[in-house]
């Protein structure tokens, strides 16, 4: 490992930029004490996030690199060099999330998939175990809040930006045209089009653009919209306007519907809906872009793994929800975005439905288990969460969902009745009561997050109206500062919080459910048959075994620790999204 003392971050790189490329570039500046480079990668699939930390041997070298490396070109991109501080890290991280991973050379007329993020899932791929609710589609369109990307993806596909390099720019494009068909062509370049790569990977396109669209009038810049070949690189918006929110690329829409407040995103402007969709759209047409950043299928957490195979069968076209393609970002895309209610394609519908079914059944199972062991509070919470999740989903209006909801409610009433009968248990809705059962890191994140939000809120009340605007991270667009608004914001915030909580809990349930199932299965079926045989022959060894068991236990601990690390890392990379930096 290189020395820690003289380190810098180098970002705005393509994902295929190697350690040798970096070493050569640095050494060509005349720096003789280049020690090491370590890339930041998506844990889920190993893909580079496009930025790295380099270790140098001296202060002078650092200065040289800080100064001169950005003038170099590595695979068509100009690196951005910063000191190793948290802010830079979070900026790079956000950029990597918005970088859409394009689909693997799509030659197929876009279809890209689903909304979502399927692949690239942008954000660092928290790949999260597939069980994550698949409904990819959801992501993109997250009902409402997601505020994060605002305008961005407006142009998503396309050329929008200045002059739409591609020319096709769909001005006429219907905002979300189902599949973004036409617009896509332009993106091929990535360049501009914004979205393309949107969040992260998806979309072959654009490297480039992404960031731009974001701000209205944002400087298209850097990579020059011109198709810069390196598509991927959606250069972090960092370049030009520091405050410009990093390309949001269809953010990981996956993220969550609730709009991931924690995201480092900077002010986003109107909640980008659909930002994610851009991905899709971008993607298809890109056949043009040669490098076509691949899509990281597994990436998208919410969605289930199946990567959209190249071109074929776009899982569902995702009507580009938000993707207002054309138009350069100059106009407030967000408005447009909100107007378009995306129709739900069938496959996505089914996905969501299945997810809801899973949520409901696992919630009921867990609640019943809790209730029978006397823990009514958590049982009730479980059910309430599940109910709200299903209600929030896109298919909530469907009969089947209504049935799920009503069965959950029945269970809930039953348990409530029992709990009243038994004890006066406090039925607080705060998750904190059962926090100890939840995953530790999650709970810590959650608690600190909600604390900070509380604090923010308090401060908000007392501070300037203007400041309020700044702090506001959700989607209220109005400039009305009435008390009424405050209340709305309050509600929004609570909703956000709850949604996140829900999400976390859901994830947790899925995991536990699966773990429990698996444990049972393994204990019963797998080990038994063989153990019989093994132990038959080694009765004498029982004694010896005892002695060894201690040693074994030590090892177990190590193994388990490693496994924990592994799963925790997976989880971290997913919750990485949600924790502030």
């Amino acid at each position: 490992m290189g020395g820690k003392k003289f380190q810098l971050y180098v970002g705005n790189l393509t994902w295929w930029t190697t350690d040798n490329d970096i070493a050569n570039a640095v050494q060509s500046l005349g720096v003789g004490d280049f020690l090491d480079v370590k890339f930041f990668e998506n844990r889920a699939n190993g893909q580079s996030k496009g930025y790295c930390a380099i270790s140098l041997g001296s202060e002078t070298s650092m200065r040289i690199v800080l100064d001169k490396l950005q003038r170099k070109e590595i695979h068509g991109m100009n690196p951005i060099v910063t000191h190793t501080n948290k802010q830079a890290l979070s900026q790079f991280e956000a950029a990597s999330k918005t970088r859409a991973t394009p689909q693997p050379h799509q030659n197929v007329p876009h279809h890209q998939p689903r909304g979502g993020m399927m692949g690239p899932g942008g954000p660092g791929g928290p790949r999260l175990p597939p069980p994550r609710l698949p409904p990819p589609g959801l992501d993109h369109r997250p009902p409402g809040p997601h505020g994060i990307h605002g305008p961005i993806h407006g142009p998503p596909h396309g050329p929008p930006h200045p002059g739409g390099p591609h020319g096709h720019h769909p001005p006429g494009l219907p905002p979300h045209g189902p599949h973004q068909g036409p617009p896509h062509r332009p993106p091929p370049h990535n360049m501009g089009g914004g979205f393309g790569p949107g969040p992260g990977h998806r979309g072959p396109p654009p490297p480039g653009h992404m960031p731009r669209p974001m701000h209205p009038g944002g400087p298209p810049p850097p990579p020059g919209p011109g198709g810069a070949p390196p598509p991927r690189g959606p250069p972090m918006a960092m370049g030009p306007p520091p405050h410009v929110p990093p390309p949001r690329g269809p953010p990981p829409s996956m993220d969550h519907r609730g709009g991931p407040p924690p995201r480092p995103d900077f002010l986003q402007g109107p909640p980008p809906h659909g930002a994610p969709p851009p991905n899709h759209s971008g993607v298809p047409p890109h056949s043009v872009a040669p490098p076509a950043p691949h899509v990281n299928p597994a990436f998208f957490p919410p969605q289930s793994a199946p990567p959209p195979t190249v071109s074929s069968a776009p899982p569902t076209h995702y009507p580009p929800p938000s993707h207002n393609p054309s138009s350069s970002m100059a106009y407030s895309p967000s408005d447009r975005r909100l107007d378009i209610p995306p129709p739900i394609p069938e496959a996505e519908f089914e996905d969501i439905m299945n997810r809801n079914r899973t949520v409901s059944s696992s919630a009921i199972a867990r609640a019943v288990a809790d209730a029978s062991s006397g823990e009514y509070a958590s049982a009730i919470e479980t059910l309430v969460t599940a109910i709200s999740l299903i209600k929030q989903s896109k298919v909530a209006h469907d009969e089947r969902c209504k049935i799920l909801i009503s069965s959950l409610q029945d269970t809930l009433h039953g348990i409530e009745a029992k709990s009243y009968g038994n004890k006066r248990r406090e039925r607080s809705r705060t998750p904190r009561s059962s926090r100890h059962r939840r995953e530790r890191s999650r709970s810590r994140d959650y608690r600190s997050r909600s604390h900070s939000r509380d604090r923010d809120y308090e401060r908000l009340r007392d501070k300037d109206r203007d400041r309020e605007r700044d702090y506001e991270r959700s989607y209220s667009r109005e400039r009305d500062y009435d008390r009424g608004r405050d209340r709305d914001r309050d509600r929004d915030r609570d909703r956000e919080r709850e949604r996140e909580r829900d999400r976390e809990r859901e994830r947790y349930y899925e995991d536990r459910y699966r773990e429990r199932e698996r444990r049972e299965r393994i204990d019963e079926r797998v080990v038994a048959p063989v153990r019989e045989r093994v132990e038959e022959r080694s009765s004498r060894d029982e004694v010896v075994r005892d002695r060894d068991r201690e040693r074994e236990r030590e090892r177990d601990r190590d193994r388990e620790r490693e496994r924990e690390v592994r799963t925790r890392d997976e989880r971290e990379s997913s919750s990485h999204r949600s924790s502030r930096h």
Binding site: N20, E41, N45, G46, S48, V544, R557, D558, R559, E560
Partner: protein
């Protein structure tokens, strides 16, 4: 393809040779890989002295990996997939360490050692019988390559584009077991036979490599003896 014999049970023609027209008469072995699986009950499992891992802890493991990388370069590991069947479903033999950790038999190759020979050596060390009877291992095919890009746990079935020097390369081999055999399992391990459905889509429980074995094996044509 005129003469297609139909097997009684499945729709696939029994005679597979009729499918090889295009290869100039050479049997292309990979077209129909047939692997014979025997019932788990055909095999007997004894015990032997414990076989401890080389590294007492996870950090020690990565430290030794780093040291060896500097000296001999990328670590080459080989692992063996031993298959048996039960109820018409292939089962993979896994070594269980503790309660939650599973691994495939195998290990690290010495510098410059041949892969197949090294795998046979490691199998004998791990599961070989100790009663002096010669034990043959038939290494049938390669079923996977996994790389570790950094001195960290994650491994992937490809080398990410930005990595020029992976730290470890793991090769998975399919081993064809004989009709009957005796294995001696070190006392600190348990040997379990995991059915494919147990592994499928269960990377939480087994990690990415073992949980993707069903996919890696599905190309074979298994005969359940």
């Amino acid at each position: 393809m005129a003469s297609q014999k139909r097997s009684g049970t499945t729709g696939w023609p029994k005679d597979q040779n009729s499918y090889e027209p295009t290869y100039n008469g050479n049997t292309n072995m990979t077209l129909h890989r047939t692997i014979s699986l025997y019932p788990l009950t055909n095999y007997t499992f004894g015990t032997k002295e414990p076989l401890f891992e080389k590294d007492p802890s996870v950090p020690a493991r990565f430290q030794r990996m780093r040291d060896e990388f500097d000296k001999i370069g990328m670590r080459r590991s080989v692992e063996a997939v031993l298959l048996v069947h039960e109820h018409g479903l292939p089962h993979v033999l896994l070594l269980q360490l503790g309660t939650t950790f599973f691994k495939l038999p195998g290990g690290e190759l010495k510098a410059g050692e041949d892969e197949v020979k090294g795998l046979k050596r490691l199998l004998t060390e791990t599961l070989g019988r100790q009663d002096g009877v010669k034990q043959e291992w038939i290494i049938e095919d390669i079923i996977g390559n996994w790389w570790r890009p950094n001195f960290e746990p994650p491994q992937y079935p490809y080398i990410p584009s930005h990595i020029t020097k992976p730290k470890e390369h793991k090769k998975l081999f399919l081993v064809q077991l004989g009709e009957k055999a005796l294995f001696a399992v070190p006392k600190n391990y348990k040997l379990v036979a995991a059915p494919l459905f147990e592994l499928y889509d269960n990377s939480q429980g087994y990690g990415p490599i073992i949980s993707s074995l069903p996919q890696a094996l599905c190309r074979f044509n298994f005969t359940y003896m």
